[in-house]
Symmetry: C2
Subunit: 177 residues, 2 copies
DNA sequence: CTTTGCATGTAAACCGTTACATGATTTT
DNA sequence: AAAATCATGTAACGGTTTACATGCAAAG
C-alpha cells in the first residue's frame, strides 16, 4: 500500500521525469492546497520507493549542478494506477482554527468575533485570488489539474462569500451597543 | 502558547465541568469535522494542562464508577480568552484524497474518474445530512456552535452540489465512447 | 450472562514540519 | 561581491492515530 506522500510523488513523476526538488516546486504551486509535502518527506520517500522498485533514478547533472532524476518503473506505474482506480475510502481531513474560534466564541466581545470572521474571509479570498491568477495558464493545459483548480476556486470563493455575508450581522451587533 | 489540542480542551471545559471521556464524546459530535482529537491526545494533554495550572481536577466518581472532572483555573480562563481574542494567523489545513485523484486522473478511464467524483459527492452529502439531522437541536441552543454548524452545513452542501454538477459531464464522456 | 457503555490511560508507530548543513551556479 | 536559486539531504521535534490494557456498571 502506498504511503500518503508516495501518492503525490508517483503522480508527479508520471507527469514527467523529475527530481525531488522539482517535485517539491510542483506540489507548492499545485496540489499544496489539498495535499502538501515537504523536503523532509520527499527525499526519504524517494529512497524508499526506489528500494521497493516503484521508481528508478539516474544522475542527470548538467555541468557541475547535481541532479538526480526519477521515473516510474512498470511496477510503479501499476501501483499508481491501482490507487487511482481503487474504490478505497478517501482520506478527507480539515483543520480550521477560525471555525474552532467561531465555535467557542460565545464569551468573547463581538469585536473579536468579527475580526475572526474577517480573517477567515481574507484567507479564502487570497487563495481564490491566487488560483484565479493561474487559471488562464491551467485552462490551456486542461485535464485533471484544471478540474482540480476549478473546484478549489469555486470552493474558496464560496467560503469567502459565505463569510462575507456573515460580517454585516456581526457589524450590526457591534453597532447595536 | 497553547498547543493545538489544548485549544479544544480548554474550550470544551469552559462549556462546563468535564471528564476526558466527555471531552472526547463532545468533540466527536461537534468540532470533529474541523478539529478532531483522540484519547491519545486528550488524556496526556489534560495532565500537562493541570501541571501548568490551566485546569484543576477533582475526583467525581459516582458509586464505584471512576471519573475525574476538570474545570478551568483563572489562568486557564485567561489563556483561552487570549487565544480567542488574538489576531495570530489561523491554522488552516485540508487534505482531500479525492481531489488528489482528480488532479492525477488524466490517464485513467472515465469510469474511474466518475466513481471518484461520486465518492466525493457521497462523502459531502453524508456529512451535510448528518449536520442537518442535528440542526434543530443546535438551533435551540444557538451561539457559536450553531454558527459553526450552519457554516459547515453550507460548506458541505456546496461541495456536494458542485460535484453533483460535475457528474453529468463525466457521464456524457462515458456514453460518448 | 453477555454485550454495550462509562471511564482512564499508555506505547508504538507513523506522519509531518522546521531548521539546519552543504555547496555549486546564476543573476543582480 | 552579494544574493537568489538550484539541488540534496538529515536530525530533532512535535503531533496524531491506532491498538492495546484494564475494570466496573448498566441494559438486554
Amino acid at each position: 500500500m502506498l504511503s500518503p506522500t508516495a501518492r503525490v510523488i508517483l503522480g508527479m513523476i508520471r507527469l514527467g521525469r523529475r527530481s525531488g526538488y522539482e517535485i517539491k516546486q510542483l506540489v507548492d504551486v499545485s496540489t499544496r492546497f489539498f495535499w502538501a509535502a515537504s523536503y523532509g518527506q520527499i527525499y526519504p520517500e524517494l529512497k524508499r520507493l526506489e528500494e521497493s522498485g516503484l521508481v528508478r533514478s539516474e544522475d542527470a547533472s548538467t555541468n557541475g549542478r547535481a541532479r538526480r532524476a526519477y521515473e516510474l518503473t512498470e511496477r510503479g506505474d501499476e501501483a499508481l494506477d491501482e490507487w487511482l482506480r481503487s474504490g478505497a475510502p478517501l482520506a478527507f481531513e480539515m483543520r480550521d482554527e477560525g471555525m474552532l474560534k467561531l465555535f467557542f466564541s460565545d464569551g468573547v466581545p463581538a469585536e473579536h468575533r468579527l475580526a475572526n470572521v474577517r480573517a477567515m474571509r481574507a484567507h479564502h479570498g487570497e487563495l481564490a485570488a491566487h488560483l484565479r491568477s493561474i487559471e488562464p495558464a491551467a485552462r490551456e493545459k486542461g485535464g485533471g489539474p484544471y478540474a482540480a483548480l476549478r473546484y478549489g476556486l469555486a470552493f474558496h470563493d464560496f467560503c469567502a462569500g459565505y463569510l462575507s455575508d456573515l460580517e454585516p450581522e456581526l457589524e450590526a451587533e457591534l453597532a447595536r451597543r
